[in-house]
């Protein structure tokens, strides 16, 4: 079921958490809200859930499945919510945690015990924790706890599923496993989901669409490919992975890289580390001379740190075989060519 947030703002005292934000999530989509801490992504999620109320303003609405739910409280919204720190009921078993949402229903709507049991067992199978129904949360690992939290949220057959940094408290390996599992699960059950994260890899890997947030606003919305390859702003470029920044100027329609910040005015050139090539001799239009400072070859690709003419740090990523061809060593002088770059022109009108 779709989510439609329109013109929502939120202030806490003097602090502006959201500034006139609108967001649409289509039925069955998995959207990631990506941004640094303090960008407003969690506040937006909590507003959809009904845990925060948006600042009163004309036209400020939250619509889920075509229904305006702005005035409804969290209890009536029937959204599934997964917290970063699981928020499992510590004094209840896994079984009772998952059954909670079914047991607190008003008597008229409550399913008989047998049905609740079947439903919980189904969910336990879905999260692959069949044998652990009678454990307490304290007896589970972090990854298991988060899966229980997910099953608990799904038990009420939520209209939408909201996940607030769901893998944030887990260690790297479990995090990777769990996010792949989440993606597979989503492909299976197709519940409209919004996932909040500050981890760009997580967003790129899991989401159908990414909403990049910064300073209480949405910077860009698009598929992972779009935001990664066509970032709309310098912020998005810098936030989605490492990037080298060069200064330059525009000369007869072409961008020329300048040696220093002072010499280059007007253009800011962003190049991802894997879009830089290293050559032994000067080639192409704009070779930059640089000295090798450090070679880090442990990992799927080689990372080479260089210092440009003014000591400007440059990071280049290349395959291992290329490193062997080049036979790079520390303090070698080489030339760096950008294969692909993104240029943001500075606004002169200011």
């Amino acid at each position: 079921m779709s989510i439609d947030v329109r013109n929502v703002s939120k202030t806490f005292g003097n602090y502006v958490a959201l500034r006139d934000v609108s967001l649409r999530v289509d039925n069955g989509e998995l959207v990631a809200l990506l941004g640094p801490s303090g960008s407003g992504k969690t506040t937006l999620l909590r507003i959809i859930a009904g845990l925060e109320t948006p600042d009163p303003a004309d036209g400020s609405t939250v619509i889920v499945a075509g229904e305006d739910i702005t005035a409804r409280n969290a209890q009536e919204r029937r959204v599934g919510f997964v917290f970063q720190h699981y928020a499992l009921f510590r004094h209840m078993t896994v079984f009772e945690n998952i059954a909670f949402g079914l047991r607190v229903r008003p008597r008229r709507e409550r399913a008989p015990n047998g049905e609740i049991r079947d439903r919980v067992n189904q969910l336990l199978a879905l999260i692959q924790l069949d044998g652990l129904a009678h454990r307490y949360p304290a007896q589970l690992s972090g990854g298991q706890r988060q899966r229980v939290a997910l099953a608990r949220a799904l038990a009420i057959e939520p209209k939408v599923l909201l996940l607030d940094e769901p893998f944030g408290a887990l260690d790297a390996k479990v995090r990777q496993e769990l996010r792949r599992w989440l993606r597979r699960l989503h492909d299976e059950i197709h519940v409209t989901s919004v996932l909040v994260t500050h981890d760009q890899d997580e967003a790129l890997e899991v989401a159908d669409r990414i909403v990049v947030m910064n300073q209480a606003r949405i910077e860009q919305t698009g598929t992972p490919e779009e935001v990664f390859h066509n970032p709309a702003s310098e912020f998005v470029m810098e936030f989605l992975g490492q990037v080298n920044l060069f200064h330059g100027r525009v000369e007869s329609g072409k961008v020329v890289v300048a040696a220093s910040k002072e010499a280059g005015a007007g253009a800011r050139i962003f190049v991802r580390p894997f879009d830089l090539e290293i050559h032994r001799e000067a080639k192409g239009d704009t070779p930059l001379a640089a000295r090798v400072k450090r070679i880090q070859s442990a990992g799927p690709s080689v990372k080479v740190e260089l210092a440009g003419e003014n000591g400007q740090p440059i990071l280049v990523e290349m395959p291992h075989e290329r490193l062997r061809e080049l036979e790079l060593k520390r303090d070698d002088t080489v030339f760096v060519n950008p294969r692909e770059a993104r240029v943001f022109l500075e606004d002169y009108s200011i």
Partner: protein, 279 residues
């Protein structure tokens, strides 16, 4: 690991134990030996004395009102303080601590000045045929005041540490505020609450100063157990005084035992709940 030599450890431990023995164990033993000095018959007679029975009844009544009042107020106040930011929050915290800061005698005196015949509300109360000072209501009021902080003090840090996420989760799963309180909030604080209740109860039953000021010491009517002990003692009825005092000493021992058990329970629970990451 300690690096102190054995004799040093022995000395420190020995002096601590000696101190404890002199100031805690010895008096406790004295209470019971003095109480039983004239035999079990005299002991039972002192406790069964109508004045003593009335004192016990009044003490139970005061505690029976003060403790539930404290539970309700303590849970409400700590919930408000731990969950919300509101104007006057720090004032409320300070007010909760007030009875700890003020001498109990002063708190009793305040009630006398407020409700006594010469007090601000005295004439009005007298005109409406209500007596608070030198009567049971005054004793209950003084007890409630003195025990005010116990439950709240215990619960505020506990609820702050637990955070509100579980309650939010319950609401999001469709639970009403009432269901959330009974099924999530209360089970999470039950041991802390019980701990506060035990301490509150011990203080309610043992309170002397504040109650002494407002009671008027009318035997068989406005005497609580601690006041009755004092009266017996002042009448040189030592065996009787110690016999009744032994009841309070027993209460203290039971309280201590329950308190230690609860502390152990709370520690075990919080230790089990420390978040841990990874499989």
């Amino acid at each position: 690991m300690t690096t102190e030599p054995a004799w040093m450890r022995g000395l420190l431990l020995g002096s601590a134990l000696l101190f404890l023995g002199c100031f805690l164990v010895l008096p406790l033993v004295t209470v019971f030996t003095e109480a039983l000095r004239k035999g079990v018959g005299a002991y039972l007679a002192s406790i069964g004395d109508p004045a003593a029975v009335s004192a016990i009844r009044l003490t139970l009544l005061a505690a029976g009102i003060a403790v539930p009042a404290n539970v309700v107020f303590g849970v409400a106040a700590s919930w408000a303080i731990a969950r919300f930011e509101f104007p006057g929050r720090s004032v409320l915290i300070t007010l909760i601590d007030l009875p700890f800061a003020v001498s109990p005698v002063i708190s009793g005196l305040i009630y006398v000045l407020l409700f006594g015949m010469q007090g601000a509300l005295g004439p009005w109360l007298a005109a409406h045929n209500m007596q608070i000072i030198f009567a049971v209501p005054g004793i209950v009021l003084a007890t409630v005041f003195v025990t005010f902080p116990f439950v709240a003090r215990e619960l505020i840090p506990l609820m702050q540490e637990q955070g509100s996420e579980e309650e939010e989760a319950a609401l999001l799963l469709g639970a009403s505020g009432w269901q959330t309180f009974w099924r999530v909030t209360l089970p999470n604080i039950k041991w802390g609450l019980l701990y506060g209740v035990i301490l509150c109860n011990a203080r309610a039953m043992g309170e002397f100063g504040a109650v002494s000021v407002v009671s008027g010491h009318i035997r068989g009517k406005t005497n609580t157990v601690p006041l009755h002990v004092e009266i017996l003692y002042n009448e040189y009825n030592f065996a009787g005084a110690f016999a009744v005092a032994s009841l309070l000493a027993l209460l203290a021992l039971v309280t201590l035992a329950i308190k230690s058990a609860l502390e152990w329970k709370i520690r075990a629970e919080t230790a089990a709940l420390r978040p841990e990451g990874g499989e």
